[in-house]
């Protein structure tokens, strides 16, 4: 597809479980971003990658959250020992390069932790 895609679109898990969320950026985009959006709030920055490396991971809330982008394309956000407070929509975006290039967002993955 032409846009950013995210899978799954919905994920329901139980407290304490491990989850992985996948993001496929727009082809050719070197920068990739993860955000989290709670109901009625704006997106909250988590991490962004320039190529394979994390350029800024200052938004990751704690060490239960980890993201990888091993080949500089697809990225996976990993959450260990999920908590109910992790329930949110996880948004991925990509841009042609970094800096002020426009970030194009995917539709998000809605994570529900029971």
């Amino acid at each position: 597809g032409a846009g950013v895609s995210q899978t799954p679109s919905n994920k329901v898990t139980e407290k304490g479980k491990y989850v992985e969320l996948r993001c496929d950026p727009i082809s050719g985009h070197t920068a990739l971003y993860w955000y989290r959006q709670s109901l009625g709030q704006g997106p909250e920055f988590l991490i962004y990658f320039q190529g394979t490396g994390a350029a800024d991971d200052s938004g990751l809330p704690n060490d239960r959250f980890f993201a990888v982008r091993p080949e500089g394309s697809v990225s996976t956000l990993k959450i260990q020992r999920t908590e109910r407070g992790d329930s949110a929509v996880y948004l991925c975006a990509s841009s042609l390069s970094g800096s002020t290039d426009t970030q194009y967002f995917g539709p998000g993955t809605r994570l529900t932790v029971l």
Binding site: G40, G42, Y48, G98, P107
Partner: protein, 113 residues
């Protein structure tokens, strides 16, 4: 801490009216600002951006105004259409890490036919 925007406000307008959506930011070091539109069930969609060395920028039916003195940003939509109904977010960033956008809480715009 840093913040952009306030509690989620709403704006209702009639089709054809002009709409003005406001945003306050708190970090005086911010030097790049973006407006996004988000429809239900979708990710944010870029509308228009502005750098801190400008005070106005125009796009198609949209204008962004930046007042650095009072740290205020506004989005003007001309001849608002029902398809403009969505949540609008302002976001800011700065040179230390341009990839890190800080979003406000958004404004719900409802356009009545």
């Amino acid at each position: 801490g840093e913040s952009v925007g306030l509690h989620l406000p709403t704006l209702s307008v009639q089709e054809g009216d002009n709409s003005i959506i406001n945003c306050a930011y708190s970090n005086s070091a911010s030097d790049y600002f973006i407006w996004y539109k988000q429809e239900s069930g979708k990710g944010p969609q870029f509308i228009i951006d502005i750098r801190s060395n400008m005070d106005k920028r125009q796009g198609q039916r949209v204008t962004v105004l930046l007042n650095k003195t009072v740290k205020h940003l506004s989005l003007q939509i001309a001849a608002t259409q029902p398809g403009d109904s969505a949540v609008y977010f302002c976001a800011e960033t700065r040179g230390v890490s341009y990839g890190k956008l800080t979003f406000g809480q958004g404004t719900i715009l409802t356009v009545h036919p």
